[in-house]
Symmetry: C2
Subunit: 206 residues, 2 copies
DNA sequence: GTCTATAAATAGATAGAC
DNA sequence: GTCTATCTATTTATAGAC
């Protein structure tokens, strides 16, 4: 009797497929227009479903948004989770920068989804920021502080170091139109990896 | 006959005062909720005026937003304009960073107003980005490139250098809630100036 | 110049047939 | 499970009295 129930949400294949369609459409629309700017009409037509059908799968617009944020939260935190206290400090931190930048390149919508939410004061995400996010950062800050104390990297403020990694890498996703407007034809991600590597190598070298 | 008419918009004292009240209220509301999230009701009550009275002074919600963006565009560009080709290169660039950070501290709403607009693809600002902004950046990039060619600063990609200054300084305004959530009680602007100075000093020193 | 009342459009959500 | 039709609330904008 192989069935795989009991996992709570997804049941049939068609349900799973439609939930996925909705999540994908919602990501597209929420990341481009923010929560208020997005409409169920937009999301429905992007998903190729009718508006009432959307609300058959999710109880409300808010529920779609919330589910999206919490699903993607893990993806968002993974690169920092991977920072390894046992590895070589400079290598670990540069690899973290590289991962974050690669995520901005490959998943700009996810980055903008969070950016929209946070710029507006994170009304639907504040507890996650003060909980999961802060806990993870505190844990990694302790590692970075040890590295600095042992003279393995330069003595930099560990929290602000992390802010600067977020800021510099996510900028290429969140402010993509501005970056491209200023660069004209040049592709941002051609030069960004080497540039950011240089920034953090110079900063972190003791 | 001293009167000061002919300047086109503001006439009486009361008109000027109400236009200012509306601009201030609109900045507050648009910067917190974005264009779609803001309502005329919010803006009106924030300004202490009735909704129809708002529309006596401005033809539409869009017009308020547009006027706000174009008024603040100059303030936004001024710190970069002040970059002086005749000054000492490192001093000039560090002073630019300091000015931008100070603006994030003193005028976070203005920063978030632009952030909201740009994250969503700058639908009402794209021409400004491709015009005024790109022109100014191109001009200053030429200066930075000269400095690098003359060996007065390290050889860094000038466009990405500017992106990194924007990104690192505006982060403290745009992502303020996140920064504060992670820091717990610590005041971001206590450490940020010294941290950013260190980042750019290390990066730019030849 | 400012207000109350209201029109017109949009958007989130529900009813009920199939 | 999916659709059409519709309800209700919100929101932009206007009319018209004062």
């Amino acid at each position: 009797m192989p069935d795989g129930s009991k996992t709570d949400r997804p049941r049939t294949r068609i349900q799973q497929r439609n939930r996925d369609l909705i999540a994908e459409a919602a990501l597209e629309v929420f990341s481009t227009h923010g929560f208020r700017g997005a409409t169920l009409d937009n999301i429905a037509s992007e998903a190729g479903l009718s508006k009432p059908n959307l609300l058959y799968y999710f109880p409300s617009k808010e529920a779609i948004h919330t589910q999206l944020l919490s699903t993607l939260m893990d993806t968002w935190l993974d690169p920092l989770r991977a920072l390894d206290a046992q590895g070589d400090p400079i290598t670990e931190l540069l690899a973290y920068v590289e991962r974050k930048l690669e995520i901005s390149r490959l998943y700009p919508r996810e980055s903008r989804l969070f950016a929209n939410e946070i710029v507006q004061g994170a009304p639907r995400m504040l507890t996650s920021l003060e909980g999961e996010l802060k806990d993870l950062v505190d844990e990694k800050v302790a590692i970075i502080r040890d590295w600095a104390d042992q003279g393995k990297i330069a003595k930099v403020h560990p929290y602000h170091l992390i802010f600067s990694i977020w800021s510099l890498t996510q900028h290429y996703a969140d402010f993509d139109v501005q970056v491209r407007a200023v660069l004209g034809g040049e592709e941002p991600f051609d030069e960004a990896p080497a540039y950011l590597r240089e920034v953090f190598l110079k900063l972190l070298t003791p």
